[in-house]
Every structure is written in C-alpha cells, then in structure tokens.
Subunit: 137 residues, 2 copies
DNA sequence: AACCCTTTGTAGCACAGGCTACATGTCGAA
DNA sequence: TTCGACATGTAGCCTGTGCTACAAAGGGTT
C-alpha cells in the first residue's frame, strides 16, 4: 500500500518548505530582472537579499547544482528551463498573495513583505481558496 | 533621530522571523500540553516535531537560555512568565489563521498545516485585516 | 541483587547559510 | 601602460539544526 509521499508530520513539512525557499526566491529575483531587460550581477542580489556577496556566490553555486541555472556569457546569470518554471510559479504565487492581502485592506508595502515569507507555506488547496475569494470579491 | 528598528530589508525580516520560529513552536506545544493537564516529556516533543530526541534536548537548552522555561520538578517542563506570554500569542495567532483558512473553505487538516508555517510571517497590520474579515463574515 | 526496557543525556559528525579578511580580475581614466 | 576602483572569488570562521552511536539513569520483574 501507500505510494503516498511519505505522509509528513506538519513540522517536517515546514522544514522542507524552508529548505527550498532560498532557491525559489533567487530564481524569482533573477527571472524578474531578466523579464525587465536588466541583467543582474552578484552585487544586485547582495542588495536584494541583504547579505554579503560571499553568501550570494555560495548560494548561487548551490542552486546551480540543483540545475536551476543555465550557463550564460561570463558574468551573466541565466535560468535553465526548470529554473524558469520554478521562477514563474514562485512569482505567480507571490503576486497572488499580494493581491489577496491588498483585497483584505493591507497596504502595498506590508502586503509585499508578508507575502515574501508566507508564500512558501501555502498548499494548493489554500491557494485555490484564495483564488476563488479574489474572483468573487 | 530614528529610534526605529533598523528598517529591515524584506528578506532580512523573513530571516529574523525564521530565527524565532522554533522557540515559538516549542513553547506553544508545551503550553497547550500543560493547559490540557498533560505534562509532556522529551519523547513527546520528539514525536510532535518529527526530530530525534537529541535535537529536542538541544533546542530546549537554547530556549531555556532565552529565558522561556521555568525550572520545574526534575523531568518536567514548565514555562517562565515570558515563555507563557509568547506561547499565548503564538497559539492565538495559530488559531486565528486556522479559522481564517477555514472561513475561506479550506479543510481542517490543511488549514492547520498551512497555519503552522505562515503564522510566523504575518504583520500586525495583516493580522488586523484578517480579524476584521472574520468579524464581518 | 541482577537484569531489562525506556528515557534522557553526551560526543561528535554533517550541512546550510551567515560573516570578515584577503586575493584576483577587469576596465576606464590618466 | 599603468593605476585605481569596483566586482568577483577564496579561505576559513561561526551558529543553528539535523543526525547516529554510545553512556548513564531509573524502574519493574524475577
Ligand atoms: Mn519568499
Ligand atoms: Mn517560513
Ligand atoms: Mn509554526
Ligand atoms: Mn503553531
């Protein structure tokens, strides 16, 4: 029996969500920059995430090992197909949450800040409920 | 000027939330057990969080160093006043989120699971908006 | 008393993700 | 072409949070 995905404890699920969080936020940041025609460097990510450039470099290496980056011209960052897919999903979720909080009356800046953390913790079921709420509101 | 709390970058704020997350979840678990008359042991926390007993012991030591535990009879766990205060706040936030997700049509189990992660990332502004939503719904 | 089982604690390891200090690379101005 | 500034990379440290393997403590049963 049970081809089920291991039936995780609630807290184990949260830990797993945290383990994939940085990768999602990085590819999302890269994706958005590329969409806007900017092509960003280590220094930009350092600014965005508020960490040292060393931390950025090492994190990039990890997500590269996960197959999320494509090798572009030296000094440039590019996403692999999987990276782009993950980035789109992440960006969509982020936007959905911001719109949701805005609809509840939260200010733009705070909606964005809260979405940044919460976006990694919501199930498809809850995201679906949020979409329905936004449609009929 | 500026007695302000440092004006954190969005991602720095998320990192800070994560740093206090375990402590909140632990005191919440202890609090709830004590409320219900059970007094729980290391083995129970091991079960609740899905980690080894070693990890539980070390985490308990850290949150004790943060002044959240009171020393009770050997082998028993008790909360300091600050620990109890934090636990109440955490439990209330958790309940609020569960009720919120339920109101949106999410199942009990999923609402609880999603709340476990998201509860650490919402500002007072957003929590206020959620309370207002629940009142007038 | 001796033994076993459960619980708790210790020793020591791994990895993620922070950091500073220093080294190297690149590139435009002088 | 040399120099200086800024960007990138490396070495090596720390803490939090996970683990396994082993040690000690406590109670029952015989
Ligand atoms: Mn995020
Ligand atoms: Mn989180
Ligand atoms: Mn939680
Ligand atoms: Mn909780």
């Amino acid at each position: 029996m049970s081809s089920s995905p291991e039936k995780l404890n609630v807290h184990e699920r949260v830990r797993r969500q945290h383990a994939s969080e940085l990768a999602q936020d990085y590819v999302e940041a890269i994706y958005i920059a590329l969409e806007e025609g900017r092509n960003l460097r280590v220094a930009d990510l350092q600014e965005i995430f508020g960490v040292s450039h060393v931390t950025v470099i090492r994190t990039l290496r990890r997500i590269e090992e996960q197959g999320l980056l494509a090798n572009a011209k030296s000094g440039e960052l590019a996403l692999s197909p999987e990276g782009r897919k993950l980035a789109k999903l992440s960006a969509d979720r982020h936007d959905l949450l911001v719109r949701f909080f805005r609809a509840l009356g939260v200010s733009e800046a705070q909606a964005d800040a809260d979405a940044e953390g919460a976006e990694h913790h919501l199930s498809e079921e809850t995201l679906g409920a949020i979409r329905r709420f936004l449609e009929k509101s």
